[in-house]
Symmetry: D2
């Protein structure tokens, strides 16, 4: 934690409206309770990393709110690649607005930020509890999604035309940077519009987000792919199963999947360098594994081993740099190696990306999304803006967008998660010279 930490949350103004939610207001009188503005969470779980000046505000419903529910017109937009749970978050936002606050003007913006831009001519979708009743059983986003379209000025123009006073942005790194720019443009124009983000990052790579929604579901689906690879590997002569998983800069999905199955022999992630050649290199170690057991399973995060590849220099519409395909690269290198040394081997390559990200959320993710969505509404109604809802240190908290996107969350190669992966895979702790 060397970065400058400032968890102060921006508010649109004073909270002068009484919340319509029938909670108890006195502590210790029994029954559910409002959260007060002086409840905070420690950012760290250890003594020495603690900075007690810098605390995270607790999320939840406030007794006094900023917006009069009758005047609220809320918008929801989902951006970037698909992720399990998008529909669950949409559903929770709609239900909490409607049933708890009585807000009845809720508009879904179609296909990401592009939905705000007139040239795409995308009709908005009116939302209410009946429309969203069953959507949590479906993968994807009923609003659709896209990368790009982050044209701040014209988005705020569109928001003004629509008379939105709340915008929920469900998306990753790029989306939330866009939301921050929108917040600043709103401030510049002196508008009273709250912008609340729900962070979506299947890679789990945002800061101060303990576990992003959809992550557990992604691991569940990834485990199925790994089991397939294991089955193929075991059923062939010196069979190798190679599975590419998500993880552009962080190997969380690969690491968790490896731990969950115990069938993985090599887990390759961006945070832990590896070489192909040499005594400690992957090819040599793979040969040793095949000598011993005659089959092997390799899991590789899409951002791993980039040093081995020629960077393309390109970026996608979200501004992410295009990664060269490490999966296909390894497939070719391993196949060529065994051909060269004259060993009959059979490599099966599995890329389950779409089948993972388009899944419906599993129940644990569903409930997580339900709580994220509800807390996002409470934050917006209380006039907070330019912030994300996050679960951190076992509590739902408010995180300023700039703190969340300041640094990537990565697997600590000296930490306990990676250590347990190495215990499970029994791969060398260091796979390069």
């Amino acid at each position: 934690m060397n970065q400058k930490i400032d968890f102060t949350i921006t508010k649109l103004g004073k909270n002068t409206v009484k919340s319509p939610i029938p909670y108890s207001v006195e502590k210790d009188k029994g029954g559910a309770r409002f959260v007060s503005d002086d409840e905070f969470i420690l950012p760290s779980n250890t003594l020495k990393e603690q900075n007690t000046d810098s605390l995270l505000e607790k999320a939840g419903p406030r007794e006094m709110i900023y917006f009069n529910p009758n005047h609220v017109h809320a918008g929801i937009v989902t951006c970037g690649g698909l992720c399990p749970g998008l529909n669950d978050v949409i559903r929770a936002v709609v239900r909490t607005l409607w049933y708890r606050y009585g807000v009845q003007r809720i508009t879904g913006v179609r296909m990401g930020y592009k939905g705000f831009l007139p040239e795409y001519n995308l009709p908005v979708k009116e939302l209410n509890p009946y429309i969203v009743d069953h959507i949590h059983n479906m993968g994807g986003s009923i609003l659709g999604s896209s990368r790009g379209g982050s044209d701040t000025v014209r988005i705020v123009d569109a928001m003004e035309r629509m008379n939105l006073n709340i915008l929920f942005t469900i998306g990753g790194d790029g989306t939330q940077r866009g939301a921050l720019a929108i917040t600043k443009e709103i401030k510049k124009r002196n508008l009273n519009i709250a912008v609340i983000g729900v962070p979506k990052t299947i890679d789990n790579d945002l800061s101060f987000i303990h576990k992003s929604f959809g992550f557990d579901t992604a691991v569940e689906r990834a485990v199925e792919a790994v089991n397939t690879a294991h089955t193929e590997a075991k059923s062939a002569i010196d069979g190798v199963g190679l599975v590419k998983l998500m993880g552009r800069e962080s190997g969380f999905i690969a690491a968790h999947t490896s731990l969950a199955t115990s069938e993985v022999n090599f887990c390759l992630i961006p945070e832990a360098e590896f070489s192909l050649e040499g005594e400690n290199g992957l090819l040599k170690k793979l040969e040793e594994r095949l000598d011993a057991r005659h089959h092997a399973v390799i899991v590789v995060a899409e951002g791993a081993g980039q040093n081995l590849l020629e960077a393309s220099g390109e970026t996608d519409e979200s501004g992410n740099k295009r990664l060269a395909d490490i999966g296909l690269f390894l497939k070719e290198k391993i196949t060529a190696h065994f051909k060269k040394i004259g060993r009959e081997s059979s490599l099966k390559y599995i890329d389950p990306g779409y089948m993972i990200r388009a899944s419906a959320a599993n129940p644990v993710d569903s409930l997580y999304c339900a709580r994220l969505g509800a807390n996002a509404v409470h934050a917006a109604m209380s006039g907070r803006t330019g912030m994300l809802i996050s679960q951190w240190n076992n509590a739902f908290v408010h995180v300023p967008i700039d703190m969340a996107v300041s640094k990537k969350n990565c697997v600590d190669p000296e930490g306990s998660l990676w250590r347990d992966v190495i215990e499970s895979t029994r791969q060398p702790a260091r796979m390069h010279d």
Copy 2:
């Protein structure tokens, strides 16, 4: 049915041993019963296609058997690509031999026919009910599998060295042709070895096999892939989901999957020609679909549209001709087309092949495999040889190998299955000029 039909089953000799199974032998006295050798099944379900001279022998346990169970040493081999249910069939064969007949010498040959060949140096695997107790919950084959290795003379040499008197060959078209050659070589050498096949063809393309084992499971998994494609398509601007499924010469998996989901808009199979260009061509029809609904799902069997591709002329180790990849071909053609006409569209291509074929069997396939395996043992113990176990016209029957491999089983483009697919997809009944 223009082929010459001869369903006569070859037997090794007279059945002089009393079956050790404690069934009732008299009809109408209650309790399970042996099958007698004069029970037959009609090959067709319509009057006009019926040829009453040509009937299929009913499978099942006989009161008098050929082999003395104490002298039996049975071998099992699984060949070709993986398919859900291989372990279930192995398990049923082992359990029926062991528990019903008391046969205790059962040997698994590793990695397909190659396991017979000394140069591969593959140790055999002794099999018994304890070893196979839980294997039906796992995909793949505990014996492993491979293509090729069909070296008849040396396989029979190995069988003689091992003193096998029964061989169960679990595999497809090529495997069963191999089994037929083995049967002939056995006959030439005057050996008393029974060879019984259990037909495995995930494509469902063997004759006189109503539905091959693993087919239902394959459809179930394929449906998951199509749902993913549908989710991706709906969540993008003019999104197209393209799924490649098994089906080299027969489109059964593609057709059944399309019917099971009703999310498929174009189902492309080898049996129904289609063009890309022209008024009735796929590209034009796809544009119309996107105009109307803004998303589309295409399912393509791997053998479809081969006329559109350059044949490579190569074959794989099983002797199947290598097909050019219609999935990647369509992906490129469709993407290029939309680029050319300047339409923003997003195509996601999903190839779930390994994830389908390496699945564990679902319960309905498990029970089917259990019955196939049991009936294979009954056939072998009664001295039958050179034949397959099949379910046909709602009964388990014996089919001579040459009848089963004589002709591919295909989707009838004038029949009710294809008609129902067209009803469900609402694709044109004819998609070429």
Copy 3:
């Protein structure tokens, strides 16, 4: 087949309207084809049971139909207990009416036949393809269901008031008898209303219905319950897992589930008598099993062992006689027996009934329902009435209601299914004196 067989199908009148479906009409010209009225299916698959005078009419779209689609108002009703696939059938009926025939007046009657009766005051539900788009992913029936309410005269009164000219009745034995009565009342009143049934019987006990829809899904869910019972049994000292499954008069679910898992040691069905006491009785055999393996799994169909119980003499609203609860009876008897002989044992009783019947259909059932529903619409549009859609001898056929309900379909205790169950469970072929 000793019953009098008359498969003649009743038609409302001459077919004078050209079908709007764009199929090819000439054979061998390629492309999907209409079914002609002279296509028939043999009722049996063996030579000796064949009666070639008595053939089943093939289902499917006719070139000439009876109703003018513009004048059609179709009703759909689902009756009796829940069953996987109800929503799939509703969906297929709606889609086929709407997309193939252009029928746009489709009305769902709520909560079974009671939905016709004014005193229940149940509003009907207008149906169209958008409303039914996702319902196949849900269990139950979007129309609701109930037993009883089969008040023929008042139902036909209601149908007249609603101006229905087609009614689809999705339900079991009792429902279809009701449909037959409705057909007769319609005839008496000289109305032109077609009544087409889709047989629903999770027990699989109707005649000339090869496998009822939802059956495979039911077996899949039942297998999960049996696996649970097996796990509990193995994890306890002399543990016994007891699972009660559907099957009032036919043990098909119990038999198929036992075959699918191979974990069942005793499968008890209505068709095979058993005693508790005596040398061959269940209690003695259970003790022997526990001596040998220290755990046991028992599956009992709800209609099994009724001779051991006092009949209550009551009936439910559908007119089915109330069965005494064999599951609880066995639980008590077994527990008491082990207590009496002083043996520590632990019995876990599982009754998964609702969790089975309220499941969504699996993909194979979904596709089956899709085809049943489509064929029901084709039958109705062609003016057929008083009949069911069935799959029999591998073809979709028309079966007169009275033939289907004339006799229960039962497991043949001398046949191959029961024999294979006995092979799998290794229970005695005869479990009474």
Copy 4:
């Protein structure tokens, strides 16, 4: 946190053996690292509840250990009711002992503490990585389990006879109290035996255990049961689905399940009192719900509403008091109430207990169990005793057994979890007068 907090961990002696695990020992040199004995975790995530004198020791592998791996004979026992993940923990313990420390004498004690008692005559089960290779795919415990048998003196006698120097006790509250008694008896006899517990409590009711293993899987299965109840309720006239879930003193499963589905209208837990009668009582509120929507789903934890029932005063073999059955009680009361007021309603009661607890762990629980088991081995090898492995405040930590069992972990009826449940169910915040 009013209890006296002392997190000091007991150790058998000085750590003088070098760990055989090849980790890096220097920080910031890259690669996985040992945990040092001065790494601690804060017990709370808020400032005011923090007591910085009282910290939890971090779990993980130590560079110096207590036991010489060559001399170790480890025992494993699983006690109490089944829970998803038992086999995963066994597997992780065996693999970590074997592969990381080279311990090859590992003994499974059968059927809980009873397996130590000579009168049960239960043979032990030798464990190694091959035997446990696939067990994580199975529910239950391969060692079996039972309640009771906690005869401290004779257990330690048996441990001495077996020459165990490590015992892993996998079980709940009662089991861990037993483990504490065993630890004390070991100390009294001056033996060098480490006793390490892995806490198993499907109810999630132990202190300083953030989430017990198997909990997520239990919620997943419970959600399936609730979906069934919802389907049944919606498909009937004024249908009510009633589901009883685990939760003797803590309503965590009921609360999480309600949040995960959003189909629950009334969630009843032990921590929140409710009445049946009166204006705010369940019966009145249920009527209002049926008036509005015509179906309702109730989830009840088994320990809820005990004030409404006559206590039986009995206890089970584990010493837990027998609860009267709130599920059956509610079923009868609700049914009687609607009969009394003359309203046609249909209640379906579902008790999925065994189907939940006997499930295999889902992937997320599998990975959690893998890490718990590995950390338990590290703790034992370092000579710690009388403690549990727990995940708390996002870290794996050591918790003295007496702190964990000192107080039940309960749902805080004023906290955010219960608040979010009330938001989701929209049940009254207070359901009694």
